[in-house]
Symmetry: C2
Subunit: 226 residues, 2 copies
């Protein structure tokens, strides 16, 4: 597991808004643990394609800096294009709308990580099963241990890609608007509409009994409104 | 304004999970109106870069199918790379965690739109100002009309790109898990943890008075917990 500070390469150096750059690798890890969706960018022919996907991180994975795993159907075109190529995995959570006194200073509060790396097709069966468990546990911590093992057919239908976490950068914005002094003096209101993902609680499927398991209940509680 | 149904090209045809494909262009428009962040994919050298950004849509914009606008600093490298190139703009909102009876059937509820098109640098001053107003109003509807006009310096610091909305596809998943009959019969719980962005209400900046304007109050109310 890498505990070195984030030291982006030229490709991942934050050039705009350097004051928003996060340099603590532990903060990147915490953020990737919390965020739900990754946007994976792959070059297909002469253009990029960006698709949302579930993901998981294994800091003890075999790739430099740890392994970021994404998975998809073996029939998915973007996944085949990605194998062996450099991909960009970007993870973003919105934390608020920043209503400034001028259009120019409007912004959002957010956290965002950008990971660039060569995508490796995970072929080792043990690593593949572990990665898929991690993806499930990323959604609902602890859940994979409560489920039956995946069948050979299910495993054969799923491709897993690993991207090294080494080449990564992170930006974050928090707090209120930063306005021009004359706009503040003019007495216009400025502030933030904080935003957070929340859940109204688990909903049992129509074909399910209603004794919500502890792992799911805990996960829903972690999204409870304040 | 285009009201034609979504008719993706080969590049945007949904090949995986066709049952999740949305074919109604009005639904795409509603979704883009509601979602807050776009992930823009640009090819830089031999690799893609994916960055989160605010955006707005003008269905009456000059591009085919309407115009999707993103903006950034004129100094941003990705933005310069994007001008004249085909970019991919992907917008995703997570609506829930789908806790199925097997790892394989775990999923998320979501809506996601993928727009592919040649990025045009918006040079006409009137279109540029209109696009920037739309980006502010996309965050807080009605707000741009309450703010002072942008200064020449502010406008000069901001680049605006337009992407035609014509070549777009949308996918959505909703509802409970879809499990194997034998897993349902085994009596394992299956269900959903619904997720929604919510706000605890506007927070005035430290340098601001606390009379929250109507537009901001309305926007925060649209994110009120149920």
């Amino acid at each position: 597991m890498t505990t070195a500070p984030l030291s982006p390469t030229a490709r991942t150096t934050v050039t705009r808004g350097r004051n928003r750059m996060v340099e603590d690798r532990a903060e990147l890890h915490r953020f990737l643990d919390e965020a739900l969706v990754a946007h994976v960018g792959v070059v297909v022919g002469d253009h990029p394609i960006v698709l949302p996907t579930a993901f998981a991180v294994d800091l003890d994975g075999p790739d430099e800096g740890g392994s970021l795993y994404v998975h998809g159907s073996v029939a998915a075109g973007w996944l085949r294009q990605a194998v062996g190529a450099t991909v960009c995995v970007t993870v973003t959570e919105v934390d608020g709308l920043v209503a400034a006194r001028s259009a120019f200073n409007h912004s959002m509060n957010y956290r965002s990580a950008v990971v660039l790396g060569r995508a490796r097709l995970v072929e080792d069966p043990a690593e593949r099963e572990h990665a898929l468990d991690l993806v499930v546990d990323h959604m609902v911590p602890g859940r994979s241990a409560t489920l039956r093992p995946s069948t050979r057919k299910e495993l054969a239908a799923t491709a897993v890609l690993a991207v090294p976490l080494r080449e990564a950068s992170m930006k974050a914005r928090a707090g209120g608007p930063v306005d021009e002094p004359e706009d503040v003096a003019a007495g216009v209101w400025g502030g933030v509409v904080p935003l957070r993902l929340t859940s109204s609680g688990p909903v049992a499927g129509e074909d399910s009994h209603d004794r919500v398991p502890h792992d799911v209940a805990r996960r829903a509680a972690s999204y409870a409104a304040e």
